[in-house]
Symmetry: C2
Subunit: 254 residues, 2 copies
DNA sequence: TGCCTCCTTCCACTGTGTGGAATTGGTGGG
DNA sequence: CCCACCAATTCCACACAGTGGAAGGAGGCA
């Protein structure tokens, strides 16, 4: 029972997916290269996407960019996500109380994708920013916490990808295995892939929902392990609180 | 020279567009109804969209919802929008200074769509929220300011739509005409479609960009016209400042 | 002005998407 | 507990929409 799939639609979406921060303005040639499609095909698809309002053509640059209507997909998605609705106020509260960054993410392909990231900020009290940002799975606490819950088959697939693209794979693999072990034993793991930033993460497994991951991070010069120890309990508590509230709201049921 | 268009892709996008705040969970039946497509077709398209990661299937509800990856379209779009990058900090500054809400929007189909809306808020200093939210063109200062710049043909089309769906059309039409006249004479217009809220808007016409609209609003019990008079100058100044900075950054050029 | 490159349009072919009809599956009622 | 109902999915033959190689255009740079 092969899941039916519409080739044109899939291809059109691949084109949209090619736009990233950093690759914000793409010509048909570049799109053809990245998607592996024939130039003629790309040309027709981009025209359709412009017609549908999802792309804008920038004549001087001979290139396309994502258009505003994609924002309303995001708005509708956020409005409709029970998990996010339940989690957001509690994440905010914790961020404020501990003066740390608190995030919520899910896996998409080989990256983790933030649904929300409350950035604690000295001055502007706190500014809820980046949603839709992506970070690598292999390097982040977020990603490793997710790997701990991923189906073995899927994890194997991804592992192959990582191995292919990371030069220091053996070292990384050991870190990842340790992190997974840590999640299994204690419910959370640490990583600091950005200098001076300590981040930890815990999976949030909810009935009838894909696995979400909560994380907490802060910029500090103190020893990572101590900081992590301090943050772990509140983070786990946050997860449990969200899970409880989610079920209470009838999440995942008729 | 009919613009080539890919039927399947168009239809798939129509399905995505059917999801709105309020219609956040849609079954195949409902989607078929809203898009006018055959149920079998919808079924196949939704499956493709699930495969592509843009929709999630909610088994208990027998329905679909938008999935997280749409957030990254929004993130990439915002990152790539020169207008938004130039405008956002200045909008923030004005909102803070005058303690008002400041927004930036474009037209999409028969609605205005916020790229950004800085909501001034007594307590949380200010919280940059809703982007991707939609408001009607006919009723808002935002929409009417845009109408003033719209190509006559397009305006005529929309006018027909409005007439069909608004019972108090004659009255509305007069308001709209007055607003357009106001934009032509003074560069801005007022409206207060929400009780106790006074809002004004001014078009932002930039080289090689679709028309954007800036708005400013605040909740007050004072007479609308006085408040509007006070806000109009700073709003127009904001627009000019943004236009200047946009050109300086090489916006719209090679 | 003329070359060069990239994008778009053309065209014949094929395979993919289509929608009515039959089937399955899941839910609420008897 | 089983049955009847409704909606979603799968099946199927057909038509035609989408495909990609190759030719034709439109800019940009020298």
């Amino acid at each position: 029972m092969p899941t039916p799939s519409n080739r044109s639609l899939e291809r059109g979406i691949e084109i949209l997916r090619a736009f990233r921060p950093g690759s914000t303005l793409l010509g048909n040639g570049e799109l053809a290269e990245r998607t592996g499609l024939a130039p003629a095909t790309v040309s027709r698809l981009t025209q359709t996407l412009v017609g549908a309002g999802l792309l804008e053509h920038d004549r001087p640059a001979r290139a396309y960019r994502l258009a505003a209507p994609v924002l309303s997909f995001a708005h509708a998605m956020r409005t409709g996500s029970t998990v996010l609705q339940v989690a957001a106020p509690r994440m905010r509260a914790l961020a404020e109380k501990l003066r740390i960054n608190v995030g919520l993410a899910v896996a998409d392909r080989s990256e983790m994708l933030y649904l929300e990231s409350i950035r604690y900020n000295k001055k502007a009290s706190l500014r809820s920013v980046v949603s839709g940002q992506r970070v690598p799975i292999e390097l982040t606490s977020l990603g490793r916490a997710w790997l701990a819950t991923a189906p073995p088959a899927r994890r194997a697939e991804l592992t192959k990808e990582f191995e292919a693209r990371r030069s220091n794979w053996p070292r990384l693999r050991r870190e990842i295995d340790k992190a997974i072990e840590s999640v299994r034993r204690r419910g959370w793991c640490v990583a600091s892939w950005q200098p001076e930033i300590v981040a930890l993460a815990t999976p949030l497994v909810l009935p009838n929902e894909r696995v979400h991951v909560l994380n907490a991070s802060l910029s500090t010069s103190e020893p990572a392990n101590e900081v992590a120890q301090e943050m772990s309990a509140p983070l786990l508590a946050l997860g449990e609180q969200i899970a409880r509230e989610f079920s209470a709201r009838g999440g995942g049921l008729a």
